[in-house]
Symmetry: C2
Subunit: 163 residues, 2 copies
């Protein structure tokens, strides 16, 4: 069995463990959605995941995909990725700069650091991409969110409002 397969099984096992730990049921929908995530090498949208599973789970609804993926993020087995997308945000600063992002409330602020900016561009030739620039996203807790229980996970987490 290949390394990749083993990795896949291990991740599924981690999901099952987390579900048991949190006393939440491991439904066929959750398993299928998680496997669909693992089987893609890109960062699918809700709709892409839905397309991937709707044949295996006839009658499944998009709503379930929304809720399930949100659950996975809470469980720590999946991530939401930063992406230029709907609910656009704009920045008048076009100079090279970096960002601080709060993992709890999603606040985003600019961060200038000459040391970071001196970072040499890595060799990405094997990917076929032609890299022009880069920016670093520093992830952590903003001053406001540090005040609240920083270990809060899922529960007592404020409804994300995209501050």
């Amino acid at each position: 069995m290949s390394k990749v397969k083993l990795d896949r099984q291990e991740k599924i096992g981690r999901l099952e463990a987390k579900c048991r730990e949190r006393r939440i049921p491991m439904t066929v929908q959750r398993r299928a959605i998680f496997e669909a995530l693992l089987d893609r090498q890109d960062h699918p949208t809700i709709d892409q995941v839905y397309e991937d599973i709707k044949d295996r789970i006839p009658g499944v609804s998009r709503t379930t995909v929304y809720r399930t993926l949100e659950t996975f993020v809470d469980l720590g087995v999946s991530r939401k990725t930063s992406h230029v997308a709907a609910m656009a945000r704009f920045d008048g600063n076009v100079e090279h700069h970096h960002h601080l992002v709060c993992v709890r409330c999603d606040k985003l602020v600019d961060f200038d650091d000459p040391a970071l900016s001196r970072l040499p561009l890595p060799d990405a030739r094997r990917t076929g991409f032609e890299i022009k620039d880069f920016s670093v996203y520093l992830e952590g807790l903003c001053p406001d969110c540090k005040k609240f229980a920083p270990k809060a996970r899922g529960a007592n987490r404020p409804r994300k409002k995209l501050i």
Copy 2:
């Protein structure tokens, strides 16, 4: 006059120059929206910009804010920032990793690079943030977009479909 004020004037001048160069009118709406962008230290949403200007420009519509900010990005005087937001995307990979993002079609793929990951966390104490992790976004052209005229700006640019 302070350094900041000078910077502000300089940026407004750059916008005026770009508008003249591209033969597009410099309307009161465009000026107000650009000033609103410059006056904020964060990354406002469309709606936040709208709230900022609606008193100064009575009767202005959200539609104008949408179109104007898009114009600014084309002119190169503003940027759209990557942000965890609506049109969610998910990643089954929770390990530390980086991203390649195509500035033309917004394609996003994972990129692993041990050298990048050894980067020491910068000192962000002055910001009040408590940094836990970071990830690097490498910006450039994906293999597909490299094929098309890479210098295309605005014109002949495909409608963004969030591939």
